[in-house]
Symmetry: C2
Subunit: 245 residues, 2 copies
Protein backbone atom coordinates (compact mmCIF):
# COMPACT_ATOMS: atom_id res chain seq x y z
CA UNK A 1 0.00 0.00 0.00
CA UNK A 2 1.29 3.39 -0.99
CA UNK A 3 -0.10 6.71 0.23
CA UNK A 4 -0.35 9.18 -2.63
CA UNK A 5 -2.02 12.30 -1.17
CA UNK A 6 -3.34 13.58 2.13
CA UNK A 7 -5.51 16.40 3.41
CA UNK A 8 -6.70 17.49 6.84
CA UNK A 9 -10.47 17.93 6.97
CA UNK A 10 -12.10 20.57 9.17
CA UNK A 11 -13.04 18.25 12.01
CA UNK A 12 -9.56 16.87 12.74
CA UNK A 13 -10.00 13.97 10.32
CA UNK A 14 -7.00 13.03 8.18
CA UNK A 15 -7.95 11.84 4.69
CA UNK A 16 -5.31 9.91 2.76
CA UNK A 17 -5.53 8.56 -0.79
CA UNK A 18 -3.61 5.37 -1.44
CA UNK A 19 -3.10 2.63 -3.98
CA UNK A 20 -3.21 -1.04 -3.05
CA UNK A 21 -1.40 -2.60 -6.01
CA UNK A 22 -3.30 -0.84 -8.79
CA UNK A 23 -6.51 -0.34 -6.80
CA UNK A 24 -7.21 3.23 -5.61
CA UNK A 25 -8.51 3.74 -2.09
CA UNK A 26 -9.10 6.26 0.69
CA UNK A 27 -8.37 6.09 4.43
CA UNK A 28 -9.90 8.46 6.98
CA UNK A 29 -8.55 8.53 10.54
CA UNK A 30 -9.99 10.55 13.42
CA UNK A 31 -8.00 12.81 15.72
CA UNK A 32 -8.59 10.16 18.40
CA UNK A 33 -6.60 7.44 16.55
CA UNK A 34 -5.66 4.62 17.16
CA UNK A 35 -9.23 3.71 16.28
CA UNK A 36 -11.38 0.69 15.33
CA UNK A 37 -11.82 0.41 11.55
CA UNK A 38 -14.92 0.49 9.37
CA UNK A 39 -14.66 -0.80 5.81
CA UNK A 40 -17.04 1.36 3.78
CA UNK A 41 -18.81 -0.59 1.05
CA UNK A 42 -20.31 1.20 -1.97
CA UNK A 43 -21.76 0.34 -5.41
CA UNK A 44 -18.59 1.26 -7.30
CA UNK A 45 -17.24 4.54 -8.65
CA UNK A 46 -15.13 6.17 -5.93
CA UNK A 47 -15.17 9.58 -7.59
CA UNK A 48 -18.97 9.67 -7.96
CA UNK A 49 -19.48 8.21 -4.46
CA UNK A 50 -16.85 10.42 -2.77
CA UNK A 51 -19.23 12.99 -1.19
CA UNK A 52 -21.39 10.29 0.43
CA UNK A 53 -18.40 8.17 1.50
CA UNK A 54 -16.55 11.15 2.99
CA UNK A 55 -19.75 12.16 4.81
CA UNK A 56 -20.11 8.69 6.31
CA UNK A 57 -16.41 8.59 7.21
CA UNK A 58 -16.59 11.94 9.01
CA UNK A 59 -19.75 10.90 10.83
CA UNK A 60 -18.01 7.66 11.92
CA UNK A 61 -14.89 9.64 12.94
CA UNK A 62 -17.06 11.71 15.29
CA UNK A 63 -17.81 8.41 17.10
CA UNK A 64 -14.08 7.53 17.14
CA UNK A 65 -13.90 5.20 14.14
CA UNK A 66 -11.41 5.14 11.27
CA UNK A 67 -12.85 4.29 7.84
CA UNK A 68 -11.42 3.00 4.57
CA UNK A 69 -12.63 2.01 1.14
CA UNK A 70 -11.27 0.86 -2.22
CA UNK A 71 -12.58 1.00 -5.78
CA UNK A 72 -14.59 -2.05 -6.91
CA UNK A 73 -13.43 -4.26 -9.80
CA UNK A 74 -14.76 -2.89 -13.10
CA UNK A 75 -15.66 0.55 -11.68
CA UNK A 76 -14.14 4.03 -11.82
CA UNK A 77 -10.69 4.03 -13.42
CA UNK A 78 -10.32 0.25 -13.15
CA UNK A 79 -10.67 -1.91 -16.31
CA UNK A 80 -14.31 -2.49 -17.23
CA UNK A 81 -15.73 -6.02 -17.11
CA UNK A 82 -17.52 -7.14 -20.28
CA UNK A 83 -19.62 -9.63 -18.28
CA UNK A 84 -20.76 -6.96 -15.81
CA UNK A 85 -21.48 -4.43 -18.59
CA UNK A 86 -23.66 -6.97 -20.38
CA UNK A 87 -25.48 -7.90 -17.14
CA UNK A 88 -26.11 -4.23 -16.35
CA UNK A 89 -27.52 -3.69 -19.85
CA UNK A 90 -29.78 -6.74 -19.45
CA UNK A 91 -30.91 -5.48 -16.03
CA UNK A 92 -31.76 -2.03 -17.41
CA UNK A 93 -33.70 -3.64 -20.27
CA UNK A 94 -35.69 -5.88 -17.88
CA UNK A 95 -36.51 -2.99 -15.53
CA UNK A 96 -37.49 -0.69 -18.42
CA UNK A 97 -39.78 -3.39 -19.83
CA UNK A 98 -41.31 -3.98 -16.39
CA UNK A 99 -40.16 -7.61 -16.54
CA UNK A 100 -39.00 -9.60 -13.51
CA UNK A 101 -35.21 -9.61 -13.10
CA UNK A 102 -34.07 -13.19 -13.75
CA UNK A 103 -31.75 -15.13 -11.46
CA UNK A 104 -29.38 -15.37 -14.41
CA UNK A 105 -29.04 -11.58 -14.71
CA UNK A 106 -28.55 -11.20 -10.94
CA UNK A 107 -25.91 -13.96 -10.91
CA UNK A 108 -23.96 -12.41 -13.81
CA UNK A 109 -24.22 -8.95 -12.24
CA UNK A 110 -23.12 -9.84 -8.72
CA UNK A 111 -21.24 -13.15 -8.46
CA UNK A 112 -18.10 -12.26 -10.50
CA UNK A 113 -17.93 -8.93 -8.66
CA UNK A 114 -18.05 -10.64 -5.26
CA UNK A 115 -15.54 -13.27 -6.44
CA UNK A 116 -13.04 -10.61 -7.56
CA UNK A 117 -13.59 -8.07 -4.79
CA UNK A 118 -13.44 -10.40 -1.77
CA UNK A 119 -9.66 -11.05 -1.89
CA UNK A 120 -9.05 -7.34 -2.53
CA UNK A 121 -10.91 -6.25 0.61
CA UNK A 122 -9.10 -8.94 2.61
CA UNK A 123 -5.79 -7.57 1.24
CA UNK A 124 -6.98 -4.12 2.32
CA UNK A 125 -7.29 -5.46 5.88
CA UNK A 126 -3.79 -6.99 5.65
CA UNK A 127 -2.45 -3.58 4.65
CA UNK A 128 -4.38 -1.44 7.15
CA UNK A 129 -4.33 -3.46 10.37
CA UNK A 130 -0.56 -3.05 10.98
CA UNK A 131 -0.87 0.77 10.82
CA UNK A 132 -0.40 2.46 14.22
CA UNK A 133 -3.57 4.54 13.60
CA UNK A 134 -5.73 1.36 13.52
CA UNK A 135 -6.53 -0.71 16.61
CA UNK A 136 -9.27 -3.02 17.82
CA UNK A 137 -12.17 -4.60 16.02
CA UNK A 138 -13.24 -4.18 12.38
CA UNK A 139 -16.69 -3.59 10.90
CA UNK A 140 -18.08 -3.57 7.37
CA UNK A 141 -20.61 -0.86 6.51
CA UNK A 142 -22.60 -0.40 3.30
CA UNK A 143 -23.13 -2.35 0.10
CA UNK A 144 -22.74 -4.16 -2.24
CA UNK A 145 -24.64 -6.29 0.29
CA UNK A 146 -23.56 -9.57 -1.36
CA UNK A 147 -19.91 -8.53 -0.87
CA UNK A 148 -20.66 -7.74 2.77
CA UNK A 149 -22.26 -11.17 3.24
CA UNK A 150 -19.34 -12.93 1.58
CA UNK A 151 -16.80 -11.03 3.70
CA UNK A 152 -18.79 -11.80 6.86
CA UNK A 153 -18.59 -15.52 5.95
CA UNK A 154 -14.91 -15.79 5.01
CA UNK A 155 -13.17 -13.02 6.99
CA UNK A 156 -12.93 -13.70 10.74
CA UNK A 157 -11.39 -10.26 11.34
CA UNK A 158 -14.79 -8.63 10.66
CA UNK A 159 -16.72 -8.49 13.96
CA UNK A 160 -19.96 -6.72 12.95
CA UNK A 161 -21.60 -5.54 9.74
CA UNK A 162 -24.06 -2.83 8.77
CA UNK A 163 -25.43 -3.97 5.42
CA UNK A 164 -27.34 -1.78 2.96
CA UNK A 165 -29.95 -3.97 1.24
CA UNK A 166 -30.01 -1.89 -1.92
CA UNK A 167 -28.95 -4.34 -4.64
CA UNK A 168 -30.17 -7.65 -6.04
CA UNK A 169 -28.89 -10.73 -4.20
CA UNK A 170 -28.03 -14.03 -5.91
CA UNK A 171 -29.69 -17.10 -4.38
CA UNK A 172 -26.30 -18.64 -3.63
CA UNK A 173 -25.50 -15.61 -1.47
CA UNK A 174 -28.81 -16.01 0.41
CA UNK A 175 -27.80 -19.63 1.07
CA UNK A 176 -24.37 -18.52 2.34
CA UNK A 177 -26.08 -16.03 4.68
CA UNK A 178 -26.99 -18.91 6.99
CA UNK A 179 -23.27 -19.16 7.83
CA UNK A 180 -23.10 -15.54 9.02
CA UNK A 181 -23.10 -15.35 12.82
CA UNK A 182 -21.69 -11.87 13.61
CA UNK A 183 -24.02 -9.07 14.81
CA UNK A 184 -25.80 -7.47 11.85
CA UNK A 185 -27.62 -4.21 11.25
CA UNK A 186 -29.47 -4.26 7.90
CA UNK A 187 -30.79 -1.11 6.24
CA UNK A 188 -33.64 -1.44 3.73
CA UNK A 189 -35.31 1.38 1.82
CA UNK A 190 -38.89 0.08 1.77
CA UNK A 191 -39.87 2.06 -1.36
CA UNK A 192 -36.63 1.45 -3.30
CA UNK A 193 -38.02 0.98 -6.83
CA UNK A 194 -34.90 -0.64 -8.29
CA UNK A 195 -34.57 -3.23 -5.56
CA UNK A 196 -36.39 -6.48 -4.76
CA UNK A 197 -37.87 -6.02 -1.27
CA UNK A 198 -38.87 -9.67 -0.83
CA UNK A 199 -35.32 -10.75 -1.72
CA UNK A 200 -33.97 -8.42 0.98
CA UNK A 201 -36.44 -9.81 3.56
CA UNK A 202 -35.51 -13.38 2.57
CA UNK A 203 -31.83 -12.50 3.03
CA UNK A 204 -32.49 -10.96 6.45
CA UNK A 205 -34.44 -14.07 7.44
CA UNK A 206 -31.60 -16.34 6.29
CA UNK A 207 -28.81 -14.81 8.38
CA UNK A 208 -27.65 -17.17 11.13
CA UNK A 209 -26.80 -14.35 13.54
CA UNK A 210 -28.62 -14.31 16.88
CA UNK A 211 -28.28 -10.52 16.94
CA UNK A 212 -29.67 -9.12 13.71
CA UNK A 213 -31.69 -5.94 13.31
CA UNK A 214 -33.55 -4.69 10.23
CA UNK A 215 -34.24 -0.98 9.83
CA UNK A 216 -36.66 -0.20 7.00
CA UNK A 217 -37.39 3.40 6.01
CA UNK A 218 -39.07 5.41 3.26
CA UNK A 219 -37.36 7.80 0.89
CA UNK A 220 -36.26 5.73 -2.09
CA UNK A 221 -32.86 4.19 -2.88
CA UNK A 222 -30.76 7.23 -1.95
CA UNK A 223 -33.12 8.60 0.72
CA UNK A 224 -31.81 6.86 3.86
CA UNK A 225 -32.86 9.22 6.70
CA UNK A 226 -30.11 11.17 8.46
CA UNK A 227 -30.98 9.59 11.83
CA UNK A 228 -29.85 6.21 10.48
CA UNK A 229 -26.26 7.52 10.52
CA UNK A 230 -26.53 7.89 14.29
CA UNK A 231 -28.17 4.46 14.62
CA UNK A 232 -25.28 2.95 12.66
CA UNK A 233 -22.72 4.62 14.90
CA UNK A 234 -24.47 3.25 17.99
CA UNK A 235 -24.53 -0.26 16.49
CA UNK A 236 -20.77 -0.16 15.89
CA UNK A 237 -20.13 1.46 19.28
CA UNK A 238 -21.87 -1.55 20.87
CA UNK A 239 -19.81 -4.09 18.95
CA UNK A 240 -16.45 -2.52 18.02
CA UNK A 241 -15.56 -0.17 20.85
CA UNK A 242 -12.99 -1.21 23.45
CA UNK A 243 -15.76 -1.54 26.03
CA UNK A 244 -17.87 -3.78 23.77
CA UNK A 245 -18.37 -7.25 25.18
CA UNK B 1 -60.42 11.45 36.77
CA UNK B 2 -59.59 10.86 40.40
CA UNK B 3 -56.10 10.28 41.81
CA UNK B 4 -56.14 7.44 44.35
CA UNK B 5 -52.47 6.93 45.35
CA UNK B 6 -49.06 8.37 44.65
CA UNK B 7 -45.43 7.45 45.19
CA UNK B 8 -42.13 9.12 44.39
CA UNK B 9 -39.78 6.80 42.49
CA UNK B 10 -36.00 6.93 42.93
CA UNK B 11 -35.26 8.95 39.84
CA UNK B 12 -37.51 11.93 40.60
CA UNK B 13 -40.49 10.39 38.78
CA UNK B 14 -43.91 10.84 40.42
CA UNK B 15 -46.20 7.80 39.93
CA UNK B 16 -49.91 8.35 40.52
CA UNK B 17 -52.71 5.78 40.35
CA UNK B 18 -56.06 7.10 39.20
CA UNK B 19 -59.50 6.02 38.11
CA UNK B 20 -61.15 7.37 34.99
CA UNK B 21 -64.80 6.55 35.67
CA UNK B 22 -64.35 2.90 36.70
CA UNK B 23 -61.18 2.34 34.64
CA UNK B 24 -57.93 2.11 36.63
CA UNK B 25 -54.87 3.89 35.29
CA UNK B 26 -51.37 5.14 36.11
CA UNK B 27 -49.67 8.47 35.36
CA UNK B 28 -45.91 8.99 35.57
CA UNK B 29 -44.49 12.52 35.42
CA UNK B 30 -40.78 13.43 35.31
CA UNK B 31 -39.09 15.98 37.57
CA UNK B 32 -38.83 18.17 34.46
CA UNK B 33 -42.64 18.52 34.06
CA UNK B 34 -44.52 20.11 32.29
CA UNK B 35 -43.71 17.40 29.74
CA UNK B 36 -45.00 15.94 26.45
CA UNK B 37 -47.16 12.85 27.03
CA UNK B 38 -46.75 9.26 25.89
CA UNK B 39 -49.78 6.97 26.04
CA UNK B 40 -48.39 3.51 26.89
CA UNK B 41 -50.26 0.73 25.11
CA UNK B 42 -50.14 -2.83 26.44
CA UNK B 43 -51.91 -6.19 25.89
CA UNK B 44 -54.15 -5.84 28.98
CA UNK B 45 -53.61 -6.68 32.64
CA UNK B 46 -52.14 -3.62 34.37
CA UNK B 47 -50.98 -5.56 37.41
CA UNK B 48 -49.15 -8.21 35.37
CA UNK B 49 -47.72 -5.59 32.98
CA UNK B 50 -46.76 -3.11 35.72
CA UNK B 51 -42.99 -3.87 35.88
CA UNK B 52 -42.56 -3.46 32.11
CA UNK B 53 -44.83 -0.39 31.93
CA UNK B 54 -43.08 1.31 34.86
CA UNK B 55 -39.71 0.52 33.27
CA UNK B 56 -40.78 2.10 30.00
CA UNK B 57 -42.25 5.11 31.80
CA UNK B 58 -39.04 5.73 33.77
CA UNK B 59 -36.94 5.35 30.61
CA UNK B 60 -39.21 7.88 28.87
CA UNK B 61 -39.05 10.19 31.90
CA UNK B 62 -35.26 10.24 31.57
CA UNK B 63 -35.82 11.80 28.12
CA UNK B 64 -38.30 14.30 29.59
CA UNK B 65 -41.60 12.60 28.75
CA UNK B 66 -44.63 11.97 30.95
CA UNK B 67 -46.41 8.64 30.43
CA UNK B 68 -49.86 7.28 31.20
CA UNK B 69 -51.86 4.12 30.68
CA UNK B 70 -55.26 2.64 31.52
CA UNK B 71 -56.58 -0.90 31.85
CA UNK B 72 -58.05 -2.41 28.68
CA UNK B 73 -61.71 -3.47 28.46
CA UNK B 74 -62.11 -7.07 29.64
CA UNK B 75 -58.69 -7.23 31.35
CA UNK B 76 -57.42 -7.05 34.92
CA UNK B 77 -60.17 -6.12 37.36
CA UNK B 78 -62.55 -4.95 34.62
CA UNK B 79 -65.55 -7.15 33.64
CA UNK B 80 -64.52 -9.99 31.35
CA UNK B 81 -65.88 -10.10 27.79
CA UNK B 82 -67.47 -13.40 26.77
CA UNK B 83 -66.74 -12.68 23.11
CA UNK B 84 -63.04 -12.04 23.81
CA UNK B 85 -62.75 -15.10 26.06
CA UNK B 86 -64.23 -17.32 23.35
CA UNK B 87 -61.93 -15.79 20.69
CA UNK B 88 -58.88 -16.31 22.91
CA UNK B 89 -59.85 -19.95 23.47
CA UNK B 90 -60.31 -20.44 19.70
CA UNK B 91 -56.93 -18.77 19.05
CA UNK B 92 -55.18 -21.03 21.56
CA UNK B 93 -56.82 -24.09 20.01
CA UNK B 94 -55.74 -23.06 16.47
CA UNK B 95 -52.15 -22.35 17.56
CA UNK B 96 -51.91 -25.60 19.53
CA UNK B 97 -53.20 -27.56 16.51
CA UNK B 98 -50.71 -25.77 14.24
CA UNK B 99 -53.64 -24.46 12.18
CA UNK B 100 -53.70 -21.06 10.48
CA UNK B 101 -55.47 -18.40 12.57
CA UNK B 102 -58.65 -17.49 10.70
CA UNK B 103 -59.73 -13.93 9.93
CA UNK B 104 -62.86 -14.67 11.95
CA UNK B 105 -60.90 -15.43 15.12
CA UNK B 106 -58.70 -12.34 14.66
CA UNK B 107 -61.76 -10.13 14.09
CA UNK B 108 -63.55 -11.44 17.21
CA UNK B 109 -60.35 -11.09 19.27
CA UNK B 110 -59.41 -7.56 18.25
CA UNK B 111 -62.28 -5.56 16.73
CA UNK B 112 -64.58 -5.33 19.81
CA UNK B 113 -61.54 -4.48 21.95
CA UNK B 114 -60.55 -1.64 19.63
CA UNK B 115 -64.17 -0.47 19.42
CA UNK B 116 -64.52 -0.30 23.21
CA UNK B 117 -61.03 0.97 24.07
CA UNK B 118 -60.77 3.82 21.54
CA UNK B 119 -63.24 6.20 23.26
CA UNK B 120 -61.65 5.36 26.63
CA UNK B 121 -58.16 6.39 25.51
CA UNK B 122 -59.59 9.55 23.96
CA UNK B 123 -61.30 10.29 27.29
CA UNK B 124 -57.91 9.73 28.94
CA UNK B 125 -56.48 12.50 26.74
CA UNK B 126 -59.41 14.78 27.67
CA UNK B 127 -58.59 14.19 31.35
CA UNK B 128 -54.78 14.49 31.15
CA UNK B 129 -54.17 17.36 28.75
CA UNK B 130 -55.56 20.07 31.08
CA UNK B 131 -53.13 19.03 33.86
CA UNK B 132 -50.34 21.57 34.50
CA UNK B 133 -47.76 18.73 34.42
CA UNK B 134 -48.61 17.94 30.75
CA UNK B 135 -47.66 20.19 27.85
CA UNK B 136 -46.92 19.86 24.17
CA UNK B 137 -47.44 17.02 21.75
CA UNK B 138 -48.75 13.49 22.48
CA UNK B 139 -47.43 10.13 21.30
CA UNK B 140 -48.76 6.57 21.50
CA UNK B 141 -46.27 3.82 22.35
CA UNK B 142 -46.82 0.06 22.41
CA UNK B 143 -49.64 -2.29 21.53
CA UNK B 144 -52.31 -3.50 21.02
CA UNK B 145 -51.13 -2.33 17.57
CA UNK B 146 -54.69 -2.29 16.18
CA UNK B 147 -55.69 0.16 18.94
CA UNK B 148 -52.67 2.31 18.09
CA UNK B 149 -53.67 2.33 14.42
CA UNK B 150 -57.27 3.23 15.24
CA UNK B 151 -56.19 6.04 17.58
CA UNK B 152 -53.76 7.37 14.95
CA UNK B 153 -56.68 7.51 12.49
CA UNK B 154 -59.35 9.14 14.68
CA UNK B 155 -57.38 11.17 17.25
CA UNK B 156 -55.72 14.31 15.83
CA UNK B 157 -54.08 15.06 19.19
CA UNK B 158 -51.68 12.10 18.66
CA UNK B 159 -48.63 13.39 16.71
CA UNK B 160 -46.46 10.28 16.47
CA UNK B 161 -46.74 6.58 17.30
CA UNK B 162 -44.35 3.79 18.20
CA UNK B 163 -46.29 0.62 17.46
CA UNK B 164 -45.38 -2.86 18.71
CA UNK B 165 -46.36 -5.35 16.00
CA UNK B 166 -46.91 -8.20 18.42
CA UNK B 167 -50.55 -9.14 17.92
CA UNK B 168 -52.80 -10.29 15.09
CA UNK B 169 -54.26 -7.50 12.96
CA UNK B 170 -57.76 -7.65 11.40
CA UNK B 171 -57.88 -6.90 7.68
CA UNK B 172 -60.17 -3.93 8.27
CA UNK B 173 -57.45 -2.38 10.45
CA UNK B 174 -54.86 -2.92 7.69
CA UNK B 175 -57.24 -1.09 5.34
CA UNK B 176 -57.61 1.78 7.82
CA UNK B 177 -53.81 2.00 8.10
CA UNK B 178 -53.74 3.77 4.73
CA UNK B 179 -55.37 6.78 6.46
CA UNK B 180 -52.54 7.08 8.99
CA UNK B 181 -50.19 9.93 8.07
CA UNK B 182 -48.32 10.72 11.33
CA UNK B 183 -44.67 9.64 11.79
CA UNK B 184 -44.48 5.97 12.79
CA UNK B 185 -41.87 3.74 14.37
CA UNK B 186 -42.89 0.06 14.20
CA UNK B 187 -41.24 -2.64 16.30
CA UNK B 188 -41.41 -6.24 15.09
CA UNK B 189 -39.91 -9.29 16.79
CA UNK B 190 -38.85 -11.28 13.72
CA UNK B 191 -38.94 -14.65 15.52
CA UNK B 192 -42.17 -14.02 17.48
CA UNK B 193 -43.79 -17.48 17.31
CA UNK B 194 -47.28 -16.33 18.31
CA UNK B 195 -47.47 -13.53 15.75
CA UNK B 196 -48.02 -13.41 11.99
CA UNK B 197 -44.92 -11.77 10.52
CA UNK B 198 -46.38 -11.33 7.04
CA UNK B 199 -49.44 -9.61 8.53
CA UNK B 200 -47.12 -7.17 10.33
CA UNK B 201 -45.17 -6.47 7.11
CA UNK B 202 -48.45 -5.95 5.21
CA UNK B 203 -49.58 -3.50 7.89
CA UNK B 204 -46.28 -1.60 7.74
CA UNK B 205 -46.58 -1.44 3.96
CA UNK B 206 -50.15 -0.12 4.20
CA UNK B 207 -49.45 2.91 6.40
CA UNK B 208 -49.91 6.17 4.51
CA UNK B 209 -47.20 7.98 6.49
CA UNK B 210 -44.27 9.40 4.54
CA UNK B 211 -42.09 8.90 7.60
CA UNK B 212 -42.38 5.32 8.77
CA UNK B 213 -39.59 3.14 10.13
CA UNK B 214 -39.65 -0.59 10.85
CA UNK B 215 -37.22 -2.06 13.39
CA UNK B 216 -37.13 -5.86 13.35
CA UNK B 217 -35.12 -7.77 15.94
CA UNK B 218 -34.58 -11.28 17.25
CA UNK B 219 -35.41 -12.53 20.74
CA UNK B 220 -39.01 -13.70 20.63
CA UNK B 221 -42.21 -11.89 21.66
CA UNK B 222 -40.91 -10.48 24.94
CA UNK B 223 -37.24 -10.17 23.88
CA UNK B 224 -37.18 -6.63 22.45
CA UNK B 225 -33.50 -5.58 22.84
CA UNK B 226 -32.72 -2.93 25.44
CA UNK B 227 -31.25 -0.59 22.80
CA UNK B 228 -34.73 -0.26 21.25
CA UNK B 229 -35.77 1.73 24.32
CA UNK B 230 -33.20 4.36 23.40
CA UNK B 231 -34.26 4.27 19.75
CA UNK B 232 -37.86 4.87 20.81
CA UNK B 233 -36.86 7.83 22.95
CA UNK B 234 -34.98 9.37 20.03
CA UNK B 235 -38.00 8.87 17.75
CA UNK B 236 -40.25 10.74 20.18
CA UNK B 237 -37.59 13.38 20.84
CA UNK B 238 -37.60 14.13 17.09
CA UNK B 239 -41.38 14.41 16.89
CA UNK B 240 -42.74 15.49 20.29
CA UNK B 241 -40.11 17.73 21.83
CA UNK B 242 -40.57 21.50 21.79
CA UNK B 243 -37.79 21.81 19.22
CA UNK B 244 -39.39 19.20 16.92
CA UNK B 245 -40.29 20.65 13.53
Amino acid sequence: MEFTAEQHLDDGVLERRFTLGDIPGILWTPASAPAPLLLLGHPGGLHRMYPRLAGRARHAAAEGFAAATIELPGSGDRPASAVAEQARADLRRALAAGEPVSDDIVDRLILPLVEDATPEWRALLDALLPLPEIAGRVGFAGGVISLGVRLAVVEPRISAALLFAGSFVPRTIIEQARQVTIPLHVLLQWDDQGNDRQMALDLFDAFGSTEKTLHANMGGHTGVPRFEGDAGNRFFARHLSATAT
